[in-house]
Amino acid sequence: MIAAHLPILQVVVPLIAAPLSVFCRRGSTAWALTFGVSIAALAISMALLGQVLDRGTLSYELGDWAAPWGIEYRVDAANALVLLIISGISTVVLPYARVSIAHEIEPHNQTLFYTCYLLCLTGLLGMVITGDAFNAFVFLEISSLSTYVLVAMGAKRDRRALTAAYTYLVMGTIGATFFVIGVGLLYMMTGTLNMADLAERIPAIGANRTLVVAFAFIVTGLGLKLALFPMHLWLPNAYAFAPSAVTVFLAATATKAAVYLLLRFLFTIFGTTFPTFEPTLTYLLLPLAVIAMFAASTVAIFQVDIKRMLAYSSIAQLGYMVLGMSFATVTGLTSTILHLFNHALMKGALFMALGAVVMRFGDATIDTMRGLGRVMPWTMAAFVAGGLSLIGMPLTVGFISKWYLVAAALESGLWPIAVLVVASSLLAVIYIWRVVEAAYFDDPPEGVTAGEAPPALLIPTWTLIGANIYFGIDASLTTRVAGEAARVLLGTAS
Amino acid sequence: MTALVTDAVSWAFLASGSFLVVVGALGLIRMPDFYTRLHAAGITDTLGADLILMGLMVQAGFSLVTVKLLLIGAFLFFTSPTSTHAIANAALTAGLNPRIADGAGAGTDSAAPEGDGK
């Protein structure tokens, strides 16, 4: 009986847990509740993925109102995988957060911090699972509003967290409002908000200027949310000044959910036959993705704050994802979806390692990193492993992503793009090398004694590193699901 | 016939009410200092709004709408003078002196709120 209700439980369990956590008097109780809920969400998303791979698309009608009139939840391989990424990362981050949040947030705020975290989780899961365009907006806003607060919580360490959160709030709200305008125009021309229904009705209308503008506004709005170059300006500071656990969670999930929504709107709702689909992908998204890869990586090289360096690297990595989708082929989309998963693993691990450094030294500038290879050997080893994955070394997940991306570029006959992908990886080598050089070839400043991060931080970090290596060696599961998701999105699923 | 009479009566109320509102607005712009402006705004609040409400009540006849309009009227009757009083009191507490004759208190006039309807 419960199996039939899994799609709604995926969202409602964290949603109900959020107000429940307000009743907790102590931060540790709230943490335990959050962790339990996160594990439940992970179990549900695994079960959902299993069901989807067995039986194909699942549909759940809320309130038993039939689809275009009521709100429908629709799970297929594409969003089942994203749900798994979100709940999985959340489950790994929480044990890490228990120690790092206790260190970074005032005690009287800890209970509500976990409430906010649960709301963020709810919002991300809700915007991914839904089959209704307006419902996606509502949950997008739940996740955004809670994210602004979570980022601002970094103000105890650095007041710039406040301005970062404010900028994020303004840019995010503009993005969401653009999205709403686009959805409104779609609704105006079709009379429906249900994604499946929209997908049927849009091709029937044919060439229409209102729909073209709706398309433009949705792409721009989601582009702002996923920090598509040149709309990325909110991201570096937000990631750099947020509390460490929040940075890990956001970097691994928030932009991913926005990428998923963009995929859903581009491929499922508008579809490859939409008049502006081809030109937008070829002449807008592809060049922007390539510029993002190079510009953001170059800026990353010159960052003093390593957290901010990784934030710029994230913008470059989002470039890879957008590049994959701009080919509009099964291989291209497979590479995008693979990279969604893989990037969550590698950035999660890297930000976790940095978080351990921040916890010990109060910041993570290139200067702090000097000699850390000897001071915090396990933490820095994790950083190096994550860095290698980011660069795309064989036997790591980064290699798998790059491999598929290059293959997709070659398959579309765009060999210069394939060369550019490889060339941009060299930039990643440079900025990772700067840290490695400082950590292993410089001496630690005087007075700094060797002291490893507590195991509560190291174990989650190494769990993610383990996943980086495991899925880098045996990629059969991830590539199978990603391939299936790509076929679902392109409408060529068996 | 009765329809004509009610229409005429209600329009008379509405027109005079609207006239007073316009006068109040003009006063708000043209009066020399904060307190006299407040005085002009008071006209809009009390008599102008009440007359318009009366006109609407005549239009509505004996119905639930009239009861609601009466309640709105009662609410305005209490709140408008109170808020005017509170604003004037706050201005006085803040040290804004009324301009009684030329020169006296003119120095503080510039401190009047900028939202003077320009």
Binding site: H5, I8, V12, L15, I16, A18, P19, L20, V22, F23, L62, G63, D64, W65, P68, W69, G70, I71, E106, H108, N109, L112, F113, C116, L119, T122, G126, F134, N135, V138, F139, I142, S146, V149, A152, I181, L185, M188, M189, T190, G191, R201, R209, T210, L211, V213, A214, A216 | F78, T79, T82, H85, A86, N89, A90, T93, A94, P113, E114, G115
Partner: protein
Amino acid sequence: MSIAAVIDISLLVFLGLTAFAILKLRALFAVVMLSSVFSLVSAALLVHLDAVDVAFTEAAVGAGISTVLMLATLALTSRREKAPTRSQALPLIVVFLTGLALVYGTLDMPRFGDPQAPIQVHVAPKYIADTQSEIGIPNIVTAVLASYRGFDTLGEVTVIFTAGIGVLLLLAGFIREPEGLRVQTMDHHLVLRVVTKMLIGPIMLFALYVQFHGDFGPGGGFQAGLIFASAFIIYALVFGLENARKAVPGRAVRLLVACGVLLYGGVGFVSFLFGKNYLNYSVLGVDQVAGQHLGILLVEFGVGLTVAAVMVSTFYAFAGQNQPISDEDW
């Protein structure tokens, strides 16, 4: 040109002038008051466009609670905007192009008021035709809001809950202990105190009317919550935050915020027991209409509870800041 078009156009022109004045003015108190005017005029326009529920909410939110929060912020920050120093050319170009794109998009739109527009023939007609038989309440907006698209509304409650928690997290660390509060009670305003005491009762009564009359006319939990909260905020303004806290302590408000969301979410779970999908209220009563009716009543109450509690706790958080909100600032 019909009367309706004249009203429509003049209200829109008035909105345009207000918006332009907001852009140009640098006295922030005037800007905030004008934004309140903007909301009120757009509420009038919304009534004219038949969206009475929306107009009610916009008036309560835009001209009410947003204005109060903005004034509180100004009292705590500054009252004048400095002259812009950077170049305005790029924003102007970007905004101009965006506007141009939108105007281009209007060319293929159905004309204003067209009864044959796609949105008038697909999906919505069912709501109008079947609300009476399936839900059994006259206000179609409430029926769609609380039942057909009830999950959106659960999301909406969650959004307001998020905002409430967020404001607490951001400002709670800075709330002074009650004995340290210097929010002045308006002791010398005898008139104000008497009138406030007289009005609080009727305002709360009106909130209850709006809450439970939402099935039949414009209104519902959200508007009722705002009105209820405003009665409380008036009390706090006139009699002092300390007294308001005595009446309803901060922690109680916080728990009430959570209770509303729990009520809404909990009602949704009941349908599981009967093997139905989440948020199917039909199982709550002897037949579908009775069940839907009860369900809508319950979830609307949850909405009202959360909204009222969030507004009060947000007001506490702003008013409890270390700079007092004094007479002079109002």
